[in-house]
Symmetry: D2
Subunit: 313 residues, 4 copies
């Protein structure tokens, strides 16, 4: 059995200190121009344990663009609205490799492989748009994040949203392609508009770790006692994060870190240790799979020192 160091406070600080000074920092995403301006030296880490105690290190109170991490929360919302009918429009299997996004859409007639690849997340967003004006649908998502994090200051970085909209030709291609198979119900521009904006939500590590506590604790916030989803649904969202949460680096993340998590190209990673902690880490430099380079290393160190891997001590 691996030695477990329970002094979370010092673990978090030591990891943050080490990460702040490492020379290997990955490459900041450039395909969304606004994201390219972020300082690659940033590093933040927040761990919130089962008692609600918050352990933070580094730039844990700097807001960053959560990008694809938002997909965990839009999935939670969409499941609340349509339940298991969601799975008619999106699958639950890992996507395999980067080519698959669109190759697979062609073979499987417009049904994306899982809700965490871009195509799948656009299909999930489309569920939230149905019956609403885009502005309303987006408001609902933002208020959900504010509610979960108990922080009304959370909002959208409109410069990032506009930047993504101007350059998001590939996502526009995916959405139109799904529309050609009737997998998208609403106007492509409406659904994409909401998608680009919820990806542009800005949050700090602290806010993000707070917002995701329900997934670490059987679907509810253990401090307030408020239930967000059923225990079974929380487990299932966690299973999806484990198998599909890191693009084509999902296997690698499970292998090295051993926690369910979701990354975003803004450099953030949200992860949970079931029953133990909700975790958010941020470092803008990415590895070749598009996941935060130091974020992943920090989480690997964290699970080693805490023994939190879901795959055994």
């Amino acid at each position: 059995m691996s030695r477990v160091d329970n002094n979370l406070s010092s673990i978090v600080e030591e990891i943050a200190d080490e990460m702040k000074s490492r020379p290997d920092r990955g490459d900041v995403a450039t395909y969304i121009p606004e994201l390219a301006n972020v300082d690659p030296d940033c590093f933040g880490l927040t761990v919130i344990d089962a008692h609600g105690e918050v352990f933070s290190g580094g730039d844990s109170d700097m807001a960053f663009s959560i990008q694809s991490i938002s997909k965990v929360f839009t999935l939670t919302l969409a499941l609340g609205i349509v339940g298991d009918r969601l799975w008619r429009r999106v699958g639950r299997e890992p996507s395999g490799n980067p080519f698959n996004s669109i190759v697979q859409l062609e073979m499987e007639r417009g049904v994306p492989r899982n809700p965490f690849i871009n195509a799948g997340a656009i299909a999930v967003t489309d569920v939230l748009v149905s019956g609403h004006q885009p502005r309303e649908a987006l408001g609902q998502i933002v208020r959900f994040m504010q509610f979960l994090a108990d922080d009304a200051s959370i909002g959208i970085d409109h410069a990032v949203a506009a930047s993504e909209k101007r350059t998001g030709f590939r996502n526009t291609a995916l959405a139109n392609y799904m529309k050609s198979f009737d997998v998208i119900e609403n106007l492509v521009d409406f659904t994409l508009g909401v998608y680009f904006h919820h990806c542009a939500i800005a949050m700090t590590c602290r806010q993000l770790a707070m917002a995701g506590r329900y997934l670490a604790h059987s679907g509810r916030n253990p401090t307030t006692g408020l239930s967000v989803v059923s225990p079974e649904r929380a487990r299932r969202i966690n299973a999806l994060m484990l198998t599909c949460g890191h693009y084509d680096g999902s296997g690698e993340f499970a292998y090295r870190v051993g926690l369910p998590g979701k990354s975003g190209v803004g450099g953030g990673i949200f992860a949970i240790a079931p029953g133990k902690a909700s975790i958010a880490v941020w470092s803008p430099g990415l590895d070749k799979s598009g996941n935060s380079h130091l974020g992943r290393i920090a989480l690997e160190k964290l699970t080693k020192r805490t023994g939190w891997s879901i795959f055994g001590a």
Copy 2:
């Protein structure tokens, strides 16, 4: 939190009884002619807890062809021999969809995506063959299974091995394809011969659950205290089982069952609950992804009643 019923004995019995009588049993694999002869009414289940106590139900002492489950053990052996150099020849990512086996081999120049798809398992077997006669390599694998299960009666069903060899054109294609990229070092016939034979190892649920206990308990048998692999390697093999252990039904298995596991087309599934139990289930009828239909349902019921899901209570 879900209610956990700790009376394992009655849980196992009740599940086995229910499964024995269910009318929906899936379809017995026909592509290996010998496997088509197995009685679809069979159902066996064995759970061995951390104290070594054995709970069994149904046909848990009937031997079946473990098929792809053997890949967990050949992976363990190969990692023991070449360590992380193994990953030069095989990846660690889910394969996405059934087409990928060979499409992906073409795109990634003969390197299979993970050690649990057929191509990857053949590459792993090739490691075991290097420096040996095929007969020796095979003997080593069988003795490893006997050692792990503490049962010298475990052996190979030669009729199944011969049947697979006669009809294994697709595996022969995969092996030759990898050979064309120099991913296979030995004579294709040698490596395939060993592969077909270790897939034809016959074991009971009881033997299989016993053999796999090291993966549930940080790399060692908690009863004998003998260490098989390091705790880190055990966690990593478990992570691979979770993300890649059930062909293109791996996401579904994680979503519904929430345990690392490996299935075989003989209808067996091996799974572990970290720190808690080693589990083997067998029912010959398969679902459309090639995994045991009732085996998966039985494990889903087991994790629900025990609260063993690695994704939360």
Copy 3:
């Protein structure tokens, strides 16, 4: 050597009569709603020989939507503007199968395989849009068709163009996908707008056969003597029509008909017999590859009776 019947007039009439009454007529395209309204009983055929003599049968003076046949003429125009630089943006190889359109775009970084698949034709249209307002670019294309056919009455069916624009999600996907690789220079909406409109040009068989005479006669109209392209360029456009002109039925068309040609989902086919004739045929019902069912059969009969196959007498 096959017997050649030089009485073109009776050959054309007999083929048209037989085709008008055949019960097997294929299926009218439904994916562009406006096209679904066309009467499947229509059949027209025009052959113009080297002396400019016109032989027509059936509904050769009814206008139909030329759709993809327009790609031959936009290619001619684009080569006139940018010459061989065009081939930096589009390839010259057959596309293989219907899946390839988008799979291949992914593998080859947004460069379409040839100018006659949709993606390639959109890239060609983009060349015509550069430096112009969409309306100007479209005007240039229409005037080119009027000039070639010596008929100022040729125009666009705006109902078809609007219908295609409303439902052209797949083409919108392709264009955005290429834009993400910088293969499209102009605003996607501009280039697609021109594309949808030039596909909606309406012409009769007589007009179409007249317009394409330059390809049958070394790049120039043998009656007026006006040169449209060089002899080498005419040969090369013909080669592209032969290898790529009929989607994934191009091999079949070469095998059965043996003439360079280009089909459209409106049911038209334009073909040439080098040095001998310019041909247009129209019947709205399509085969499974999207080519006119009776159009192809009529051309097969025509080449058999005339001995015009480019592959030998």
Copy 4:
């Protein structure tokens, strides 16, 4: 009309002289070790006109490995045996890109796209093996080549055949893969053995041009009057050569040369000008698509000077 220079004798000589001395010679194939030993400075060209007059230049009497060019003749034989039933086992469409060989086999359930890609040619060879011992089947092929070329000295280069057999893992993969779909009827080793050997037939340019005269002249040798196939079948084989004869460089060959032809990795190209000539060219260096670099250039010069392009003067 382009100016045609009828002095074939001087054209052939001038082209051969120029090619002998050009510095750009492509790269000799290395994947079959025996082929790597061929002198890259070799160049041979033979043209036989409709009267049977032979025009040769360079090393036109040196034998080379015809490799894939043999597929034209095995296709002719197989069509003679099973007729159009052949098309149940192999398609008639271009294969698109190099990836397609095996990807496409997976999607289309083991039916190769055309008889000139390796998989398709193996399926054609399988037809010739059925009902025979491999040795007999091979004898039949060799005697057919001897008959067509009227030269009993034509034989197999056994060193090349053995070399290909030792290293032909990819072809072994393809054959086993098709066997798994029942597209191959005979023992894989038998069919592959015959395939490897007929690819290793050695011929000179003169012999090859002689052997293929029937394809230039409506299915029969115009000098002896002996009919090999019907005019329609000759045209159809020519159409297949045009659309599929040069791997994924088929479109390029049609575009630049404009003649039906078939290349081999030994550096030979066989081509015909319908009604006019049978042509063989050989230069061992290949371009990136695997076709003879100088061979293609020589043919491009030949069609320019003779006006023989099937796509117009």
